[in-house]
Symmetry: C2
Subunit: 287 residues, 2 copies
């Protein structure tokens, strides 16, 4: 029989993690999911060819950009080849037969505990136990057969581990979205509505950002994100993250990036990829 090619996708967390849901949204159930302990490990798996894609969270609507993953993007030679946006809903899940009043400890990732802070405070004297992963917490409770503990994790984690939902939507703010990126060793050529991501540093003169943005404005290219950040290790310089609508395979976008290369002190292009829609169907227009 011929060997079939299955796409291997690395992500941080256990089965049922939000990054796995993002990987499923982009690559479907036929892809092979490869759980990793850290973001570094996700990048490494893709860089060495052990996985075809890596899935990373890059921006949360409450917590902002995940700077660690921007740092890792700059440290590796990978390209962005896709994006997807998930609404993050947290559920309290426990082993079958365990009731809400039995729960003495709640396990989850520190970010999930923080996003449910007010709800948890109102639940009274329950011990909170931070762990490396939301879904990993459910798995631990299942494996150890705990009867006095629950995890904060996704509905999918409850399904995967055969656990019950004690309480839904624990998140303090419903408007909680995370944008994820897919990484690969080679860039792609997207068709349809696209986005391009890059990082650049300006020269240290007043108005340098304005000049750098002119390369997009003069060509009517819509920006969808801009963020400045002190350039690590170069305390007199700034680094920018920028996303724009369009693909490097469109001439005006390619020319804009060539023009930016002329002006910028540093430029790194992460590639072009199909643009994700918000889960509610809204489209964020340009800057």
């Amino acid at each position: 029989m011929p060997e079939t090619t299955v796409l291997r996708v690395a992500y941080q967390g256990e089965r049922g993690a939000f990054s796995e849901a993002a990987a499923l949204a982009l690559y479907g159930p036929q892809a092979e999911m490869v759980p990793c302990l850290s973001f570094d490990e996700v990048f490494r798996q893709v860089q060495v060819g052990a996985c075809d894609r890596g899935l990373i969270p890059i921006e949360n609507s409450l917590a902002g950009s995940v700077h660690r993953n921007y740092d890792l993007l700059l440290q590796h030679n990978l390209y962005i080849v896709g994006e997807t946006i998930l609404r993050i809903e947290h559920h309290l899940i426990a082993n079958p037969g365990v009731r809400l009043e039995d729960v003495r400890r709640i396990y989850s990732h520190p970010q999930a505990l923080a996003q449910c802070e007010q709800t948890l405070a109102a639940m009274g004297a329950i011990e909170l136990v931070p762990t490396y992963d939301t879904a990993g917490s459910a798995m631990l409770i299942k494996e150890q057969g705990l009867r006095d503990a629950a995890a904060i994790a996704s509905l999918r984690a409850a399904d995967l581990y055969g656990m019950n939902v004690l309480r839904s939507n624990l998140e303090d703010v419903a408007d909680n979205y995370t944008r994820f990126l897919a990484l690969a060793t080679e860039p792609i050529r997207p068709s349809g509505p696209s986005k391009t991501s890059l990082a650049f540093a300006g020269r240290n003169v007043p108005g340098s950002l304005f000049k750098m943005l002119s390369v997009f404005a003069l060509r009517d290219i819509d920006l969808t994100k801009i963020e400045s950040r002190p350039h690590r290790g170069k305390p007199w310089e700034y680094l920018f993250y920028l996303d724009f609508e369009g693909s490097l395979h469109e001439e005006r976008c390619r020319l804009a990036v060539e023009h930016l290369q002329e002006i910028a002190a540093f430029l790194r292009v992460f590639g072009s990829y199909p643009r994700a829609q918000m889960p509610n169907g809204n489209h964020h227009n340009g800057l």
Copy 2:
């Protein structure tokens, strides 16, 4: 005896919290420190006049902007009247006589636990307990006389509560800075090197950000921060946070902001205040 006027400063956390260190850096030991349970409470204390100043973290060099505090700035009618930047160093502190090998549980704020994740993982099977505050964790261990627990908190917390440092600098990345802002009900008129902060939304047309930045570039005004963010509740619009060098009491800055008012769909000015230096003495130049 005449009543002396003591400046009352609200901050989130207990005595010895990093926000308190920021308050001390700006207002000195003669100010009265008022610990609060939440950021909301800090804003409320200043808004109702119970405190003269509020101290809030606004940006961390690893975790990015504290969007929650930007949201609270937009919801209240307060002004920014100062800023300071602290290097964040985490220490493992315990009651006198407790040794490192006695420690079975470590208490701290989820952000502090996250910033020390790799160091803690290397310490083996110790239970991590997330709490509402770094210094509050030290206080709890002191008050309950715990002999098998330690807190991750500041050196100042160890001093304040008469506790010992078991291990220093647990943070995974040394380059860990937080910028704090001071808030008041009335704006100030800073002298010397100043900064001004504002938030604005553009009209939804290509190049609108470029046009809005022109009001600064045309007047050679240096920007020190820019960040875009989907405008909550207005899914087709973006909100920008922007800081620039200079004060509203300088004519070119005042004219630039008036010009921005002409172009922007929404503008909120948070005020001008003396510019902080980095703790290492470096000055981040403009964008």
